[in-house]
């Protein structure tokens, strides 16, 4: 029992800072999902009849399915490197709250892969024919949705850590879990684009976000713990 210990908050901050530094040194990992998101949303108008009214109808589905797939793409990287080089083991025996350290990791992951999508999302919505006044609603929906996607996805990423072909298994595990996010996110976007009040769907999205913020880290920590056995 050492006399002085680093507090959990400073340890979690250290994890966050180090992961950001690593992302600066190796930008490929987090640029990949962003590039995927931009490309796919650009492909949509090419494949569909470029009639603005029809594009506008498709926009919510296109935006949200693409967001889902790009965040799945990013999830694979969440714990993989740390598991490979033994860092996760060191987290577990650091005497710090394992959950808090994993929350810090997930937060960094969202900052690097979720937030850029939220920032690019409005542009993609414009290219799909959404009117400019719909953008605030779309932005809030994407923000709330991407947070939930990262948090819930962390459970799947933890569970598939030990699996050999983790990628496919990860999508099978996570996609059913995030269906509510897709349903309410697409609905909110649809309402915003039609110029209606999107608040009800946004509230539900926020509720899912709050639920995943409180419960998902515990489940993710338990999942990672099991995969380290």
């Amino acid at each position: 029992m050492s006399a002085s210990r680093a507090s959990t908050a400073s340890a979690a901050l250290a994890v966050l800072r180090r992961d950001l530094l690593l992302a600066v040194r190796r930008p490929g990992e987090w640029l990949q999902p962003l590039a995927f998101f931009v490309l796919v949303t650009v492909l949509f108008p090419l494949a569909v009849d470029p009639e603005p009214s029809r594009l506008r109808q498709l926009a919510p589905a296109a935006l949200w399915v693409t967001l889902l797939l790009s965040s799945l793409l990013a999830l694979e990287f969440l714990f993989r490197e740390d598991r490979r080089d033994g860092t996760l083991e060191q987290y577990l025996v650091s005497g710090q709250s394992f959950t808090a350290l994993l929350v810090a990791k997930t937060a960094t992951h969202w900052l690097l892969t979720g937030l850029p999508l939220v920032l690019v999302g409005p542009l993609a919505a414009l290219s799909l024919g959404a009117p400019p006044q719909a953008l605030p609603g779309v932005c809030v929906a994407l923000l709330l949705g991407s947070v939930s996607l990262s948090l819930i996805g962390a459970i799947g990423a933890g569970l598939t850590l030990g699996a050999r072909s983790g990628g496919a298994l990860l999508s099978l595990l996570v996609l059913p879990l995030v269906m509510p996010v897709l349903v309410f996110g697409a609905r909110a976007t649809q309402l915003a684009i039609a110029g209606d009040e999107a608040a009800s769907a946004l509230y539900l999205l926020a509720a899912i976000g709050a639920l995943s913020l409180t419960l998902a880290p515990l489940a993710a920590a338990a999942a990672v713990r099991i995969s380290l056995e």
């Binding site: 210990r5 530094l21 080089d85 005497g95």
Partner: protein
């Protein structure tokens, strides 16, 4: 656990709300350990050993461990006093790594007791982890960061902020001549292992669990490891090593254990 966040940083929250926050965090902490409900319920009644306790002894009593269908450890019992070292020289596949991983808390023994300073490690795993440092096959170094950045991060996890002699630690493992801007990726395997040893010396842990610590080390590196272990033992630290070649350590405080079927 989570309560450490507020428990050790009273300045973070005004005194009036500390109490309810503490309570809330404690509840969360219990949930975190939901997989191990026993430990949560015992946490309330555990007896804490004061930091100056003279006898931080590791006691393992009748440990049984299964890996799949194999009954790997069959009723293993031993004790390790402060200032002493145990070298496991068991043959391949007899459970050296599994024993270390079990002691570290990655694996759960089916039966048996592990006590640290008289307290079951299951009752207060965090307190045990504070006192323990584990170095496995993987060095847990980030290939894209420099040696110093890796050490700085490792210290931020455990040691309160302040002047930590990072460069001195690197010097002491014979890495004073490496380019400070060089990422760990470009160091040799032996040099990476030395960085991991430097990290170990910075953590100020009472118990070291080392799995093949001498792998990839040259003769000079092995001497560095032996010097580190000697200093650790002299300051009252204990260590368990899984290794194939016994290290030269003071014989009075170093036991060699040839096979799990021998008595310790």
């Amino acid at each position: 656990m989570v309560s450490a966040l507020l428990g050790h940083n009273p300045r973070l929250v005004p005194a009036r709300v500390t109490c309810s926050f503490k309570q809330a965090w404690a509840d969360v902490a219990k949930l975190v350990d939901a997989a191990d409900l026993k430990s949560a319920s015992r946490r309330g009644v555990r007896v804490r050993v004061p930091p100056s306790a003279p006898n931080l002894r590791l006691e393992v009593h009748k440990l049984h461990l299964w890996r799949g269908d194999r009954h790997l450890l069959r009723g293993l019992s031993f004790a390790l006093d402060p200032g002493s070292t145990l070298q496991l020289l068991w043959p391949n596949g007899t459970g050296k790594t599994s024993l270390l991983r079990c002691l570290a808390g990655f694996l759960h023994a089916e039966e048996g007791q592990i006590r640290w300073g008289g307290v079951s490690v299951r009752a207060d795993r965090d307190a045990f982890h504070w006192d323990m440092a584990y170095l496995g096959h993987d060095t847990a170094l980030k290939a894209d960061l420099t040696a110093l950045e890796n050490l700085r991060f490792a210290c931020a996890l455990r040691v309160p902020r302040g002047e930590v002699p990072l460069q001195a630690a690197l010097d002491s493992v014979g890495l004073s001549k490496i380019d400070p801007r060089q990422p760990v990726r470009s160091l040799s395997a032996g040099q990476q292992r030395r960085v991991a040893l430097a990290r170990l010396s910075l953590w100020d842990a009472k118990l070291w669990l080392l799995d093949e610590p001498a792998s990839n080390l040259d003769a000079a590196g092995q001497a560095v490891l032996e010097a580190l272990l000697k200093a650790h033992m002299e300051s009252g630290g204990a260590a368990i090593l899984a290794t194939h070649h016994a290290l030269a350590l003071p014989q009075a405080h170093c036991r060699l254990w040839q096979s799990p079927s021998d008595p310790a």
